[in-house]
């Protein structure tokens, strides 16, 4: 399947990636080449084959609903680029 520059811009937007015009051109060319490799799969007949999401098809393990984490609020906030009064700070969302 061929992609266009508009597709690249749309994908970059969905993935929240800012790309320069040069990066967009490079992405168009390299992703086109990679999709050609990926498209080789289309020649395999997979009718009736169940998708395999995981090498082990085990059910998700459950644990008791008890608190296991200790309070690390101060430690974790210290990793953030910007905080205020114990909260993560981001640019204004609502006008």
């Amino acid at each position: 399947m061929a992609i266009t520059l508009e597709d690249v811009e749309n994908i970059a937007h969905l993935a929240r990636l800012q790309l320069s015009p040069t990066e967009k051109q490079e992405a168009l060319s390299s992703i086109t080449n990679i999709l050609q490799v990926i498209d080789q799969m289309q020649s395999i007949n997979t009718t009736g084959v169940e998708p395999l999401a995981h090498a082990y098809e085990a059910a998700q393990r459950l644990r008791d609903d008890v608190v296991t984490e200790k309070d690390q609020r101060i430690t974790l906030l210290a990793l953030a680029p910007s905080t205020q009064r114990g909260l993560f700070l981001v640019p204004k969302v609502l006008e």
Partner: protein, 482 residues
């Protein structure tokens, strides 16, 4: 003493030939001398290392030492280390200091290991040459104009270049085995679920697995024995007992049934590499094994399926890097969307952005069935090929890589050529199986790796097979410049 492995150092520490502080200092001196050129380490931790070594010597003096007490190692910079930067080779995490240790790090620490530092890697483990690192490429100690392989290239170059005796590593599509092959080391990727992924920065969660890069299979047996085991903090960790890998070395190989996939000896394999691999296989025949040609019919499609599945999982995993809670944030964002886009656009390198975009595309409306579901169906066919093969043979062997280490820069402009690097290793991750690469020959002064793949949880068998080969051959003893 710098060409020693874990077992050698453990014996020397027991006999009192030297102390942990002395051997640790010797490696720190080596790092100071050679890391500038090899670029194998992103972060070196001399103070902590010497403090851990002194503590280990005290433990030994008090009579409580284990086999790993005081043995210096390095960690791939994908494992979280409390108080020491964990960059994952990315600008995004250039300032990230994890508040906790990965389970692998914690287990080795509890066993008395000394951490020398954190090794270089392809950014977020995405690469096969260690050239996508934000911290620059790593050089191959065998020839410094060549790549060490990737993504665990820093760990491989550090062990091969004698900057440490062993290192942790991770493998999503070949990232332990291919650098082991290029640098003349023993590298094991255990069965998916064997080693905890907790605290190991995620790339593709259904494929990622931690393992080791060491000089010998015996060293791998010692180190994996410490790292492996159930961890309730990793939801895909498998709750099975860990065998005593060391106790299972030295078992004769008589009657071992080896399968060689014809697809791994086809077009693309360099003839001089094939000669070395065939000679290694003959060595196994001399040890009593039988060889049978098998077919992995769908292995040709493993790269195609992988480059849908791995980027799809990566695009989800890497969505956490948003400039809010940790990691890089762009300067002066005007609004939330601008902050997300520029933080990610500036914080990620070209290859990471490329894979996020492929994954985003494969998962987007209209393409999900054609790409993602199709790739999962192909994944089952690939796994079924192995299941079928293992009804006829005990292990599968072949080249780890079609060639020896290639020149720096040779494939950086051609992502597809780089992706095809993992042509013999990727299917093993898709099927979740254990695989090991061991030194099995030389071509023009460069190491050649033999890959051995086993059934689920057959690490003990792989390590024994590798060990018996290393008792009969000397390829693993060769060192760069020796």
């Amino acid at each position: 003493m710098l060409n020693q492995g874990i077992a050698d150092i453990a014996r020397a520490l027991v006999s009192g030939e030297y102390s942990s502080v002395e051997i640790t200092q010797a490696y720190l001196d080596q790092i100071a001398l050679h890391n500038g050129e090899l670029n194998a380490f992103i972060t070196v931790t001399p103070e902590q290392a010497l403090a851990q070594a002194a503590a280990a010597d005290q433990v030994r003096a008090s009579g409580n030492a284990g086999v790993f007490t005081g043995v210096p190692i390095a960690h791939k910079d994908i494992f979280c280390t409390a108080g020491v930067r964990t960059s994952c080779g990315s600008r995004m995490l250039d300032n990230f200091i994890a508040p906790y240790n990965a389970t692998v790090v914690e287990k080795l620490l509890n066993a008395g290991a000394v951490m020398l530092g954190k090794t270089n890697m392809d950014e977020f483990a995405m690469g096969s040459s260690n050239e996508t690192s934000y911290y620059g490429p790593v050089k191959n100690p065998w020839n410094r104009t060549l790549v060490p392989g990737g993504s665990s290239g820093g760990s491989a170059a550090a062990v091969s270049g004698q900057l440490c005796p062993a290192a942790t590593a991770t493998d999503t599509g070949g990232s332990i085995r291919q650098p082991a092959s290029f640098c003349g080391l023993t590298g094991i990727k255990p069965t998916y679920g064997r080693v905890s992924r907790w605290g190991m920065i995620a790339f593709a969660s259904s494929l990622d697995q931690a393992g080791t890069l060491t000089r010998t299979a015996e060293d791998a047996a010692i180190m994996l024995g410490i790292m492996a085991g159930f961890d309730p903090k990793d939801s895909t960790s498998v709750d099975l007992p860990v065998p005593d890998y060391c106790a299972q070395l030295n078992k004769p190989l008589h009657g071992l049934r080896i399968g060689i996939p014809r697809q791994h000896f086809a077009q693309g394999l360099k003839p001089e590499v094939e000669i070395q691999i065939r000679a290694a296989l003959h060595e196994f025949e001399k040890l009593g094994a039988t060889i049978k040609e098998i077919s992995l019919d769908n292995s040709h499609y493993s790269v195609a399926a992988y480059y849908v599945i791995a980027p799809a999982e990566a695009s989800a995993n890497l969505s956490r890097y948003d400039g809010v809670r940790f990691g890089y944030r762009c300067a002066k964002p005007v609004d939330l969307e601008d902050m997300y886009k520029r933080s990610r656009g500036e914080g990620f390198g070209a290859e990471v952005k490329r894979r996020i975009m492929i994954g985003t595309y494969a998962l987007s409306a209209g393409y999900y069935d054609a790409y993602y579901i199709k790739a999962q169906k192909v994944r089952r066919l690939i796994k079924d090929d192995f299941v079928h093969a293992f009804t006829e043979v005990d292990v599968i062997m072949g080249p780890t890589s079609p060639h020896t280490a290639f020149p720096l820069g040779a494939k950086t402009k051609d992502p597809v050529a780089m992706y095809l690097e993992d042509i013999y290793t990727i299917a093993v991750n898709l099927a979740g199986l254990p695989g090991i690469s061991i030194p099995a020959g030389m071509v023009n002064g460069l190491p050649v790796g033999l890959q051995i793949v086993g059934r689920d949880f057959d690490e003990a068998k792989l390590l024994n097979i590798a060990h018996m080969f290393q008792q009969a051959t000397a390829w693993h003893l060769l060192t760069p410049g020796a």
